[in-house]
Amino acid sequence: MWNLRRWVQGVATLVSNAYLLFPFTRNIYQGRLKSMCVPGLNCYSCPAATGACPLGSIQSILSTVRPSFSSGRYHISLYVLGMLGLVGSLVGRMPCAWVCPFGLMQELIHKIPSRKFEIPQALIYVKYLILALFIFLLPVLVVDQFGYGMTWFCKYICPAGTLEAGIPMMFLQPSLRELIGILYYNKLIILVVFLILMVFIRRPFCRSACPLGAIYSLFNKVSIFRMVHDPDACVLCKQCYRDCPMGVRFYEGANQVDCIRCLKCYQESCQYGAISIEVAGILVRPVPKGGEKKEEIPA
């Protein structure tokens, strides 16, 4: 299952970035596929991107909500929010584990041998603040004299945009280099900080700052696909926590906000059948590999 997930992540990354003509056109893809949002965090200004970034799309539509209302076009991101809600209602935060290119990169960088650390638990709530402020409120509320707002998250935070678009576009279109200023260096510093953190901390961006993960996480407890914890079978060995790419303490409860449904705990970590999945009310349990009695494992 773990290898399958790597394959799916790799294929999803390639499909999200399948426009391989960019070295010749020196521009981004402009075909009709760009009207569809990808489920993961993938900048639509990445030269190879074939789809739209859902976060960028929400912000850019909300940042023009006043002028569009004035012109009789009632665009408030229902299309993108509907798509995210559909995915979230089906599988919760699963796209983070299976199809997000930025998530894959974080996991690969974390494989670099080093001492590993845990992030303070309070930081997992920062992503909701970023979601509320930078994705929804600021683009609508802070506007210029013509009523146009900004894409605040893209402009000031998004390290995926810097990595996938900011750096490559400087090589593809050298004229853009003349526009580099403090904003660019600010985003570059954020990217470098997260890249360093990725070595030492499991998925630091997903856990602390990703607004897309924050949106999907709201569906974790109510999605059709969800995880189930059996406290009677759990021996509190904490192997699920040690193996979890998000550092989720599954033994404290299933479907926590940071559970990305990678299924490693379900498939590999738990030897006692304490972790199951439920799809539309049907419980699917793994075969216990180790045993079933709490007394067999020291606390």
Partner: protein, 66 residues
């Protein structure tokens, strides 16, 4: 109990659902319906082309220069 063989792993399909659980599981289907309606409304008011128009232009904010 029937067993499923999927991606090289075997599962036990228990089919176990208690009544309380089944009742609470209406929520995801209602949410699914709600967001499907939102998606369709968004498509109907022309947001697909709005997304496309934004996505085919180089986003200077994303790059960090605008």
């Amino acid at each position: 109990m029937p067993s499923l063989t999927k991606v090289g792993c075997s599962f036990i399909l228990t089919g176990k659902t208690d009544m309380k659980n089944t009742k609470s599981r209406k929520t995801p289907f209602l949410l699914l319906l709600l967001f499907l309606v939102l998606l369709l409304v968004g498509i109907n008011v022309g947001e697909v082309s709005a997304v496309w128009e934004k996505a085919v232009r180089i986003c200077f904010s994303c790059i960090g220069i605008g």
